[in-house]
């Protein structure tokens, strides 16, 4: 069982974990962390991934690219975007096939075809869900849950605004990027729409995210 610690060492821990993954996995670019975001049209998954890309770049990941996969979007239809982060410049802009992490803004999407496709053995699911990680079972996959919908509403955001809260869950569960820089970038992005509430949604979700075993 893999246990995440949440201190200055977290990045190191994740990288060690990640290196274990990539040496076993069929990975093209060994040093790239691949995070696929799934949401519904209108939920703001692309904005969330863009904020994380921004924070990643300013945390020292010189390669931070976010490539949305565009279909014929309608509100409510499943959408996805690929976020790749690396210390080096990233050249491959093709959609992620084998993610290290899948972030899901609506737990019902876990049942949709494609959401978990290609997720690496030993990878991670971070999901907005009222359930606990123990209620999910995906073999050698770590599941992290937070009830972002309720948390976001409790800090004064309109019901259904979950794309800033989920960033807090991402920060805690992955340990890749600190919550402070993420909060700062959230406030930048939402400077005209409840910046403090959006940042607070991420902070509170960070505190309430539960990371399960595998």
């Amino acid at each position: 069982m893999f246990v995440f610690a949440f201190d200055m060492e977290t990045e190191f821990i994740w990288e060690k974990h990640f290196n274990n993954l990539t040496t076993n996995g069929n990975q093209m670019q060994q040093s790239t962390i691949q995070i696929r975001w799934h949401g519904r049209g209108g939920q703001g998954a692309i904005t969330a991934a863009k904020i994380v890309a921004n924070a990643a770049f300013f945390s020292g990941y010189n390669g931070a690219v976010m490539i949305p996969t565009f279909g014929t979007e309608r509100r409510g239809a499943p959408v996805l975007t690929s976020l790749k982060i690396s210390k080096e410049k990233i050249y491959d802009l093709s959609p992620i096939v084998n993610p290290d992490i899948v972030v899901v803004l609506d737990y019902l999407l876990l049942e949709e075809k494609g959401t978990l496709d290609g997720l690496k053995e030993g990878g991670m699911i971070i999901v907005n869900s009222p359930k606990t990680p123990e209620e999910y079972s995906y073999g050698h996959i770590t599941v992290a849950t937070a009830d972002v919908t309720s948390i976001a509403e409790s800090v004064g955001l309109k019901r259904g605004i979950v794309n800033t809260g989920i960033i807090g869950a991402f920060s805690k569960a992955s340990g890749l990027i600190g919550i402070d820089i993420l909060s700062e970038k959230i406030k930048d992005e939402f400077r005209d729409i409840k910046p403090e509430e959006n940042a607070e949604a991420a902070r509170l979700t960070f505190a309430k995210t539960v990371v399960g075993g595998k």
């Binding site: 093209m28 670019q29 863009k50 890309a53 921004n54 770049f57 010189n62 931070a64 690219v65 976010m66 490539i67 949305p68 565009f70 990233i90 050249y91 491959d92 802009l93 093709s94 959609p95 096939v97």
Partner: protein
């Protein structure tokens, strides 16, 4: 200053830094966010340009032709069917020798309707007499817009800056925004010595007879054929200007340096993948993988498609064992246009590499890195055999 933004915003930022004076554009996916950003810059007073809304692409380029004829630095942008709707004016702009810069956010052409990426739109306009440059990432989009204005104004030929729809236009990555004072140092303001001016009326581009004839001063003036010959000559000569501008840019910004072909691990390579746009960067990972397997391979991205850099192609590829040419466009009834151009340039070389032609990513079909790897490997293993016929990757018949 570094930012993480979309490719369309990178393009708009370049247009703003170039102190463009007139913009006329009609929105079309995936170009739309670029024109939206420009209209935002203008409405917020961050840019002093005139933004002229129009009712079609044909009008957009017509407005640009008029504005450029009065000596203004002029910009437009489009994609796919929008580019084709302005096609008559595309020919006119180069014939009239106007230094307009246009971003073509590459998209497949209908019918059937598609909004996704391939190169058929700009490829179909390659014989219009415009210069065509391709960018591979957001930094190159911004930088190429700046260089394009300088080249266009030096040679009086319009320039298309082409970049992949969605893959680049709608993706986010870090790029540096140059300082305005450095851009001003690089790109002086535009002045034309042959412009429309009410104080000095003149006629431009009137009916030109098949043969030369004396003008009102008694001097022999060129016929249509001479004027068109000069466009061809000046396009060929613009290769030197493109290089000069690249060097000047590098001197100030310390970036770039490969205006014709951008090579990765090609020096000692026996086999080279060749393509245009962001695909050439995706292929770098494939090259790394094949190098790990001990294959001597490289990838070359063609940055300048018109004028075609024949000598640079000869210098880069003669002596190689094989070329694997990947294309997002096709000359229907023949083969990939880049394949034709490259093999034609190499015809005069004694030791010609074999060349294989693969068509892929048409209408946004996903280009899987694994497919590129398998294809490149297959081509290498096939030995020295030339293939005239094209093969399509990722086709599901």
């Amino acid at each position: 200053m570094h930012v993480i933004e979309s490719g369309n915003v990178a393009a708009a930022t370049g247009v703003k830094l170039a102190r463009t004076q007139v913009i006329a554009a009609y929105p079309i996916t995936p170009q739309t966010p670029l024109t939206e950003k420009l209209s935002e810059f203008v409405s917020k007073g961050q840019m002093t340009a005139q933004y002229i809304p129009v009712e079609s692409e044909h009008s957009a380029l017509s407005v640009c032709i008029a504005a450029s004829s009065t000596g203004s630095r002029t910009f437009t942008a489009t994609s796919a069917n929008g580019l084709l709707y302005m096609s008559e004016q595309v020919h006119w702009a180069s014939g009239a020798r106007l230094p307009i810069v246009m971003c073509v956010v590459n998209r497949g052409v209908g019918a059937p309707w598609t909004v996704w990426n391939d190169h058929q739109d700009s490829i179909s306009q390659r014989d219009t007499g415009w210069i065509q440059m391709h960018a591979c990432d957001h930094q190159q989009i911004l930088d190429t817009v700046l260089k394009a204005f300088m080249v266009a104004e030096k040679v009086s030929i319009p320039v298309m800056v082409c970049y992949d729809g969605y893959l680049l236009s709608h993706s986010y990555m870090p790029f540096e925004i140059p300082k305005q004072e450095d851009v001003d140092r690089f790109l002086p303001s535009f002045s034309s010595d042959c412009k429309l001016d009410p104080e000095h009326p003149l006629n431009q581009n009137t009916v030109t007879l098949p043969d030369v004839r004396p003008d009102i001063h008694g001097n022999m003036s060129p016929g249509y054929m001479e004027i068109r010959h000069n466009l061809q000559q000046d396009l060929i000569c613009s290769l030197d200007v493109v290089k000069e501008v690249e060097d000047r840019f590098k001197g100030i910004f310390n970036r770039g340096g490969s205006p014709f072909i951008e090579s990765y691990l090609c020096e000692d390579a026996e086999y080279v993948a060749v393509c245009m746009g962001s695909l050439s960067y995706q292929l770098r990972d494939v090259v790394d993988q094949l190098r790990n397997d001990g294959q001597k391979v490289g990838v070359a991205g063609v940055r300048l498609y018109r004028p075609f850099p024949n000598q640079a192609v000869i210098d880069a590829f003669s002596g190689k064992k094989g070329l694997v040419i990947f294309e997002k466009g096709i000359s229907y009834g023949n083969q990939g246009p880049l394949f034709t151009d490259i093999t034609s340039a190499l015809y005069q070389v004694e030791e010609r590499p074999f060349a294989h032609n693969y068509i892929l990513g048409i209408g946004g079909r996903e280009i899987k890195t694994q497919d590129l790897l398998d294809t490149f490997r297959k081509s290498i293993q096939s030995g020295r055999k030339n293939e005239i016929k094209t093969e399509w990757i990722g086709l599901k018949l």
